[in-house]
Amino acid sequence: MHDEIPSARGAFSEATRTLISGHFVCEHTHPDAYGHLNDHDFFADVDAYLERMDMRVTRVRDGGAFYATSVCDEAEARLHARRVMHAMRTEITSVVHFLKMTMEALKDDQAIAPGYVIFKSQYVTAVTDSPSLTEELKSLAHNLRGTPGKDTIEALMEKVLRKMCDLEYLDVADREKGTYLVTGKIDYAHAVIAYLVHRLPAEPDEEIDAPRQESLL
């Protein structure tokens, strides 16, 4: 049992409340709770607490965040999985398009990882300079639920970034400067994407692997 020092008690409350409420605990959004959850005893404590509600603490694949999963038997698990997958259907499409667009706009071919900083101004400039990215942004923004705002790139970008914040994949680092931080939940999205790719029909992937730079030089 870990020492019940005040900070640990506060972190326990924060961690359990966050997890039970369906949120993700990551280094960037809940640094205190995340730090404590990395402690084996603290983790076991929270896990035991959640177990009384038929839940348990689970870590995303690369360890970027903790979240609560249901504990149930095989039949219930399949029913539960269907509910989760159904709920993810719309969300994952937006996230895939957003991540792909971000990689292209920011000229970064690495997958976006937790802690990655997105500067809105840099993003807007990149999209403005590229007609294809502008189209992608419009398509993505129009497919998102919400009030239709202005059709400017700035407004569309704001809508997309706000949606990603609502879905907890981004966190506002500095609203005035327009800086956003990628949260640990992004690893959850990568796990879903990996599963979906595994189920795709086999396709020649030369187009995917072809380095863009080669065609320029």
């Binding site: 369906g22 009384r52 399949r78 539960h80 509910r83 259907r89 991540l99 071919d109």
Partner: protein
């Protein structure tokens, strides 16, 4: 329309023929008559190589500028490292030649070879120093900002190879057969001194520096390998979605193994409410009530146009707008009789503007506060929340009067 076979060579010839103008434009310099004639400048503008704005300022087209940026960056990125092993072998060959010259008593040749050895040793040491400095700088900024993952991977391989080769070269210098030759041939004293000063004595420092760089590079390559499959998967899914507009994520795991992400728990709303029966909480509740904003009030009569506020003699009255749940509750209390009324059923058939849980808590708390003066009675119906969790939930509140 001309084919690419004709157009591209013509375009390349135009660029090559006006290379001074292109270099000047890339460097941001003026394109005057010294670098290109007006006719050539016109040809470059027509070919969209140079762009001229309304103020007559000429600059390189954005696409060509970007292309040259990439070329320059690539050149800078791959600059580090030379063939050190070859240079070490060259030292050995020079020493062998020195020995031959000594055996033949060829003094001039000996002096010439001594200079060559000094030059080769200094050149090798300088090369290692420069490589070290360059790699150190690259390590500090995580090996540069390249536009594509493929290039980043190639660059990593290049640096990994360079570091490994350099470490091998250091080992070669330390274990070189030259040292044995120096021991066997006392006449090579000057060469031995140069060899020791320029190379041997600096090996520990170089080795330590290269180990540090190698360690950072190893970590960086490992990090890239970790994210590489994720980037590929993302591209593959994105491409599939683009080619199949009707694609939708499957919503059934079918025969697949249930993965952790599929079991993400459904969120539970956590809300806390004061216990209105707890006398210890009365002061706290009173404070909360006192801090609530006043109800919205609406002026019942409008001031006539052109009349100032201070001249407005019209009597003013305000209508206090009650919230919807309060109106429904008051109606329910008014209708209360010996017949029991279910607050849950009232919520179901009227618009209270609140969730059922909040409505029931409001009804129970208000009835508890008002029962003594109005003869109002109420009873809360409690049921277990779940079979095992030990929690209770309020199912209904029943009202009646005695």
């Amino acid at each position: 329309m001309r084919s690419a076979r004709e157009t591209i060579p013509a375009h390349l010839r135009l660029l090559h023929g006006n290379e001074k103008a292109v270099i000047a434009a890339y460097a941001g310099d003026m394109i005057d008559d010294d670098v290109a004639s007006p006719r050539d400048v016109l040809a470059l503008i027509q070919a969209n190589v140079i762009v001229e704005n309304s103020e007559g300022v000429r600059r390189l087209s954005r696409s060509l500028h970007s292309h040259l940026d990439d070329v320059m960056r690539k050149r800078r990125s791959y600059r580090a490292g030379e063939n050190f092993s070859g240079q070490v072998e060259m030292l050995e060959k020079i020493i062998a030649s020195c020995e031959d010259a000594m055996r033949e008593n060829h003094f001039e040749r000996q002096c010439q070879l001594e200079d060559e050895f000094r030059h080769a040793a200094e050149s090798l040491a300088q090369g290692i120093d420069e490589t070290l400095t360059h790699l150190r700088a690259e390590v500090d900024n995580e090996f540069g900002d390249l536009p594509s993952f493929a290039e980043k991977s190639r660059q990593n391989q290049h640096y990994t190879k360079r570091v490994e080769e350099t470490i091998d070269a250091l080992a070669l210098i330390a274990d070189s057969r030259i040292v044995d030759r120096f021991d066997a041939q006392p006449m090579l004293e000057e060469q031995e001194r140069i060899h020791r000063r320029e190379l041997l004595d600096r090996i520990p420092k170089w080795r330590q520096a290269f180990m540090t760089i190698s360690e950072v590079l190893g970590r960086h390559v490992h990090a890239l390998r970790r994210v590489d499959p994720e980037a590929k998967a993302l591209r593959r899914l994105s491409l599939h979605m683009r080619n199949n507009r009707s694609y939708e994520m499957p919503d059934d795991p079918q025969d697949d193994h249930i993965q952790d992400w599929m079991l993400a728990a459904m969120p539970l709303a956590i809300m806390t409410h004061p216990d209105v029966h707890d006398v210890d909480q009365e002061d706290m509740i009173a404070d909360v009530v006192a801090s609530l904003p006043a109800l919205a009030r609406t002026r019942s009569s409008k001031r006539k146009p052109g009349i100032l506020v201070e001249d407005d003699d019209e009597p003013t009255s305000f209508i206090i707008r009650r919230p919807q749940w309060r109106i429904v509750f008051d109606d329910m209390v008014r209708e209360a009789s010996v017949e029991r009324i279910s607050a849950r059923s009232v919520h179901a058939r009227t618009q209270t503007g609140t969730s059922l849980d909040i409505w029931l808590i409001y009804v129970a708390a208000t009835c508890a506060a008002a029962r003594s003066e109005a003869g109002l009675r109420h009873e809360t119906v409690i049921e277990p929340h779940g079979p095992l969790d030990g929690l209770l939930r309020m199912k209904d509140v029943v009202l009646w009067t005695e």
